[in-house]
Structure formats: C-alpha cells, structure tokens
Point group: C2
Chain length 190, copies 2
DNA sequence: AATTCGTTTCAGTTGTTTCTGAAATAGCTG
DNA sequence: CAGCTATTTCAGAAACAACTGAAACGAATT
C-alpha cells in the first residue's frame, strides 16, 4: 500500500509529535494512519504503508489498545484483526482525558496523599508539607475536572468547549445568579 | 545539603513523573526541590541536594526557564543566581496550560491548516481531509480553551475548576436561560 | 495431530537521550 | 588587566528506549 502525499505528511507529523504526546514515533504514525483511513486496516497493511517491521506494528497496536485509542474489527471469513479509531472525535477527546489523568495525575495524587499524611518533623518539613497541600489541592481540582470531561455527553462537551471567550462572563453570571436560583427551588445545590 | 526523607520522596517521585510530563528526570527533581524549598536555591545547593553534576543542573535550569516554571532571584552582595517557583499554584497552572498548548497543540494545528488547504486529488484524500477537518475542529476548540485558562484570574480559574460536578447542570441551565437573556439585552452573543 | 495463517514475544542491535567532566566563557573586583 | 567566582558549552560516556528478525505461540482447518 502506498500513501498519498497528503496522508504521508499527516502521518509523518504525528510521528514527530508522538514523542511529545507520551507515545513514540511509530505509535503516532499508526494512529494517524488509522484515523484517516476510510476502512479498518490490518497489521500487514500498516507494515506496507509505513515501512516498519511487523513486530513493531504489533507492539505499537498493543500500546494503542492500552490507551483505548483504537477499535478492533473483524470481517466475515477473515481471521485477521482490523483496526480503526472511533469515528467520533469527542469520544477520542474523552478517552484522551481519561488516559492522561490516569497516567499523569493519579499517581502523583496518590503519592501526595501519602506524603501529606506523614508526621512532619522539623520546620522545613512543615513548610514542604504546606506546599504539597497546595499542590494536592490543585491536582485534586484538575482530577475532578478530567472526570467531568470524561462523563459529559457530546453535546455538553462541545458546549463546554464552545463557551470559549464566554467563560468569564458565565462565571460572573452564575456567581450573581446562583443564590437567587437556589432560593427559588430550595437548596438543591451542594 | 541533605534532604529530609519527606522531601527526598517528593523529589524522587517528581523525577519519575518527569518523563511523563514532557521533561526528564533531573528537570522534574529540580522543580520539585524548588517547589518545596522555603527559600530560593543556587545551583550548587541543587548539586549537593540531588547528587548530580553541576552541568546537568545548569542545563536543567535552562530547560525549566524555557518552560517559564522558575523565577530567578538575586541576593545583595551575592553574584550567584538563585531560583524559586512562583508561590501561586494557580499561576503555575496557567503557565503549564500555556506551555503545553505551545508544544503539543499549536504545531499540529498549523500543520493541519496546511494539509487541509491542499488540493485533494482522489476519493481517499477527500476522506482523509474530511477527517483532518474534524480533528482541526477539535484542536481549535481545545486551543481556545487553553487560551481561556491562561487568561483567567485566580478567582475565576478556581471557580471554573470548582464547578466540578456542576458543569452539566450549568450547561443545561445556560442553554435554557441564554435565549431569554439574549432577548433581554439584544443579540450581543456570537 | 499436522498444517496453515496470523499474532505475540523476546534477545539482541541500533538509535536517542541524558548526564558528566573538562574546557571555555562571562562578569565582577581590586 | 589579572585574578576570582559563577555559569555555560560541548564532546564523549553511560543509560535508556525503539526497533528488528527469528522463534514461539494460538486458533482454526483438514
């Protein structure tokens, strides 16, 4: 299989970015290829398209599966595994949010809990713990935020992002409105 | 300089996570050390505390500066450079958002613009471009979102994250209320 | 149970990144 | 400007991650 220049360039760019996104080059390239392919691909087609070894494809697909970024498909009368990405880019965003949280936030959050629970001996430690508590607060908020994103349906997620420049106004507005709204319907709010 | 076990473990954890966060071990460790230190540190203190070479510290500080994650301080009658992190964790969050966008989103956004602007030859390319447009849409929203975070003041940023489980309700509420509010003040909204 | 087709694993190689020590640079002080 | 002190650069060494080919594995078919 030979790629059009357009798809070539897309794939190569994802390869380059792969490193920055916490995967490696091959994983990035395979994901890009699957993302733009009109139909699911099998491993050998990826080998042909990307010019990499069969085993590399196998390991990279494994990695992509561990990220939940690809879907496995089968054809009638064909034993091979075919792979795609989800059609829905919002779904992809949710998955990314979830996996990133799992890899980048949760471990630190757990460690911070431990460290903060320790007996702080001297003044230095007390200062360090105070700092850690600040960071834990921040991380906790972020974690909650990621969970939130993960749980929103497409419409609401799109809405949330679309707010864009209106977030400020919205926040101000809710600060202003919330009390009266709560008053109207009787403390339903946390 | 010798570190307390508490700070040791904090520093070591950040070293481990550094890789996942787009920096390397040493950069992570130095950042952690600065974050919990009650006073700014000079390079030699970091060498002593972390047991790494002077040149490694120098390069890592350079890296941290390129991320805008550290502040340079000076003492009277002392030519050495002393480093800290910003006190304010919200500021840190904004910086991270900004730098992440710059490194992980903007380059891809630019490439996608290019690719989408190309003449699509065959059906495969047309499909690929359609996919790329979807991705570009998503990335554009995300970029806007990061810009938004970057521009919010502490209070509003905290508010935004604190929304937590209320985002859904809030979004529903605004959908319900916006039309009437717009009607009240005349289509000021996009 | 042997064959075939597809996938996975793994030891070893290649390629990158990180880290170091030594040398070079820059900036201040007398 | 000579002598300090602090910092940066850089080539090579050490550590690490990626990739390959070959062999092992598994599942369906005869």
């Amino acid at each position: 299989m030979t790629l059009s220049p357009l798809v070539q360039d897309f794939v190569l760019h994802f390869g380059e970015m792969g490193g920055r996104w916490g995967m490696n080059r091959t994983v990035g390239q395979i994901y890009a290829l699957l993302f733009v392919s009109p139909a699911p691909l099998c491993a050998d087609e990826m080998v042909a398209a990307l010019g990499i070894s069969r085993s590399n494809v196998s390991m990279s697909l494994r990695e992509l599966q561990s990220w939940n970024l690809v879907l496995l498909k089968h054809r009638a009368d064909d034993r091979r595994d075919f792979y795609t990405t989800p059609e829905d880019v919002w779904q992809i965003l949710r998955t990314l949010a979830e996996e990133r949280k799992k890899r980048e936030i949760d471990p630190t959050s757990a460690v911070l809990d431990d460290l903060i629970a320790r007996r702080a001996a001297d003044a230095g430690d007390r200062h360090a713990q105070a700092r850690m508590r600040q960071m834990q607060g921040l991380i906790g908020q972020l974690a909650g935020w990621y969970d939130e994103v993960k749980a929103l349906d497409n419409t609401r997620l799109a809405g949330l992002l679309r707010l864009g420049a209106k977030v400020t106004r919205l926040l101000d507005a809710t600060d202003k409105f919330r009390p009266s709204r709560r008053a109207l319907r009787g403390k339903s709010t946390q």
